[in-house]
């Protein structure tokens, strides 16, 4: 198999994983106005829940070795519960306080994983993990299987979020993001709706987490440093906050560019040097997008048709497109 096919498969897989994460983040940040910096923590909870519940791990006190599908569902549910535990106290904080708190929770989670070696094997992690359909397809062909899984997952997440976006629930989230005081004055339980968005995002992140574990084939705490959070955020900002397809496009572009650096054939010495360009690319992309195209590459307004005043099915009056994120305030929509 030619090298570039493997490369493209790898990039698409990674882009799919980050795209799904960015879509979940979009539910929180883009619609509910929750500027969550704890994605990496929830992703770690999902990944570790899955591995601990399903894998055969030597020297570990708790390893029930559940079937994989049960593990994926359990990972989602556990992550959702953890999200609720983080969300309940944090959601009353505003702006940067909320961001710092969620960030701190993510770090605490990573420290706990590193230090509670009894069930996680600490910083050395767990490797050589089994993957679904491992025995059917071997070697390099497995990359295509994994890509297939990612595609299915991305489509599923996309459909769930599209359905959410156009539902009264999604509308309520955007309403309280736009104007919290007005929502409160209408008797909306703003905190409760935010908590629901936070938990739903947690559920999605937790169910994607096993795919990342399959991609890496092992799990260790260092996988879940804040880079995960910031790369996801960059993908979302590049693609367009609030937009439905934007996060996917953002993740695809970001992964193509950063992973393309692997194409440069260099000796091991220069490899570390080349790796240093990843953060530079991510950093410059974030700065440039915020400055020159704050609404992202796929502005949110394209995703939502103008609502029809006639209610359920009926003639649609002409009207201008609407923006989800106010111009010039793309990442500044927090209230």
């Amino acid at each position: 198999m030619p090298g570039w096919v493997l490369f493209v498969t790898g990039v698409l897989t990674l882009a799919g994983i980050y795209g799904a994460l960015a879509m979940a983040l979009n539910l929180e940040a883009g619609w509910a106005g929750l500027w969550d910096l704890g994605t990496a923590g929830l992703f770690a909870v999902g990944g570790y829940s899955f591995v601990i519940l399903t894998a055969e791990i030597p020297e570990v006190s708790f390893a029930p070795e559940l079937p994989m599908m049960a593990g994926v569902v359990a990972a989602g549910l556990i992550t959702a519960v953890v999200a609720a535990m983080i969300g309940l106290p944090s959601l009353r904080l505003r702006g940067e306080y909320f961001m710092i708190t969620t960030f701190a929770f993510a770090e605490v989670i990573r420290h706990l994983i590193t230090n509670e070696g009894e069930i996680t094997r600490g910083s050395s992690g767990i490797s050589g993990l089994e993957r679904p359909f491992d025995d059917l397809v071997s070697g390099r062909d497995y990359n295509f299987v994994l890509l297939g899984i990612v595609v299915v997952a991305v489509i599923a997440v996309y459909l769930v979020l599209r359905q959410t976006a156009k539902s009264p629930f999604g509308r309520a989230l955007r309403a309280l993001r736009d104007n919290e005081a007005a929502a409160l004055a209408l008797g909306k339980n703003v905190t409760r709706q935010r908590l629901k968005a936070f938990v739903l995002a947690g559920l999605i992140i937790g169910m994607i987490a096993p795919i990342y574990v399959w991609y890496i084939r092992s799990i260790f705490p260092h996988l879940y440093v804040s880079d995960i959070t910031f790369v996801t955020w960059t993908a979302l900002v590049v693609g367009g906050i609030g937009s439905l397809r934007g996060p996917l496009l953002g993740a695809l572009i970001l992964m193509s560019v950063t992973e393309a650096t692997h194409f440069l054939q260099v000796d091991a010495d220069k490899a570390t040097l080349i790796a240093s360009f990843h953060p530079i690319i991510i950093g410059v992309a974030l700065i440039a997008i915020l400055r020159f195209r704050p609404e992202g590459l796929l502005p949110a307004r394209r995703d939502y048709p103008v609502a029809r005043p006639t209610g359920l099915g009926g003639a649609e009056p002409p009207g201008p497109p609407r923006t989800l994120v106010p111009q010039g305030d793309a990442a500044g929509g927090g209230h």
Partner: protein, 251 residues
């Protein structure tokens, strides 16, 4: 039910916004609250609707104390309010603003988005009420416009309409006439009296004295966080202290 503000004080830092203030918003009436800038009018509304915690005193809805409740709970007890600057849900259309305002908790559940336990009825009622209000407030032609593109006057009207979607028992309006074109102010006055006759208790803050005198059946004059005068509109308009402190300052 009437709203009783009993001996309420509220300070920001060292600055007293409300000083042992007592007043009543009688059920069924249109009450106006006037006074110069900084008199504490908006603070009073914020206190009643739970957006500001009061330092001392009590606020009652009927017999029930409401001064420790959160804003959304107070709204659910039937007290709606509007804001001085009506931003609304800016990125959403006028129509969606009304649907959101009228949506029930059941319809806003996550599972309802996926057709699980979706409320069978309710949506059509909400849509019908929204359409009716758009007609009545002459906003129908703006239905699909994003709210952030509305003029200040239209935004005021929309905010009024959003509140009406909830069928509030009492409605506190913070400067409803501000930004409304002068030739439409009389219309607004008529509209408020119509809704009042349909059973909504209204309390209104405004600077436009002729609008207030036209609309209200009872007027409270505030100055520096205290009640300066209260009474029927024509009485208050003749009150010397009012003329001195309030009208003198405005003129």
């Amino acid at each position: 039910m009437r709203i009783v503000v009993d001996d309420v004080s509220k300070a920001y830092g060292g600055l007293a916004a409300l000083k042992n203030l007592s007043l009543t918003v009688e059920a069924g009436a249109i009450t106006a609250i006037i006074g110069p800038n900084g008199a504490g009018k908006t603070t009073l509304f914020n206190a009643i609707t739970g957006f500001d915690r009061i330092d001392e005193g009590a606020i009652l809805l009927g017999e029930r104390r409401i001064d420790r409740l959160s804003p959304w709970r107070i709204a659910r007890l039937g007290i709606g309010r509007t804001f001085q600057t009506p931003a609304g849900f800016g990125t959403m259309s006028v129509w969606e603003n009304l649907l959101t305002a009228g949506a029930s908790d059941e319809s806003e559940r996550v599972l309802a988005a996926f057709g699980v336990r979706r409320p069978s009825k309710g949506f059509d009622d909400v849509a019908a009420r929204a359409a009716e209000l758009l007609e009545r407030l002459e906003l129908a032609h703006l239905a699909s416009i994003p709210v952030e593109e509305l003029s200040a006057g239209d935004a005021k009207l929309l905010e009024f309409a959003r509140q009406l979607m909830r069928k509030p028992e009492t409605l506190l309006l913070d400067e409803p006439a501000a930004g409304v074109a002068p030739d439409r102010i009389a219309e607004l006055s008529t509209l408020l009296r119509e809704f009042n006759e349909e059973g909504i208790t209204i309390a209104v803050i405004d600077h436009n004295l002729s609008f207030v005198l036209d609309t209200a059946s009872r007027v409270w004059v505030l100055a520096s966080g205290e009640v300066l005068a209260e009474g029927k509109p024509h009485e208050v308009a003749k009150d010397k202290r009012v003329l001195e402190t309030y009208l003198g300052q405005v003129a």
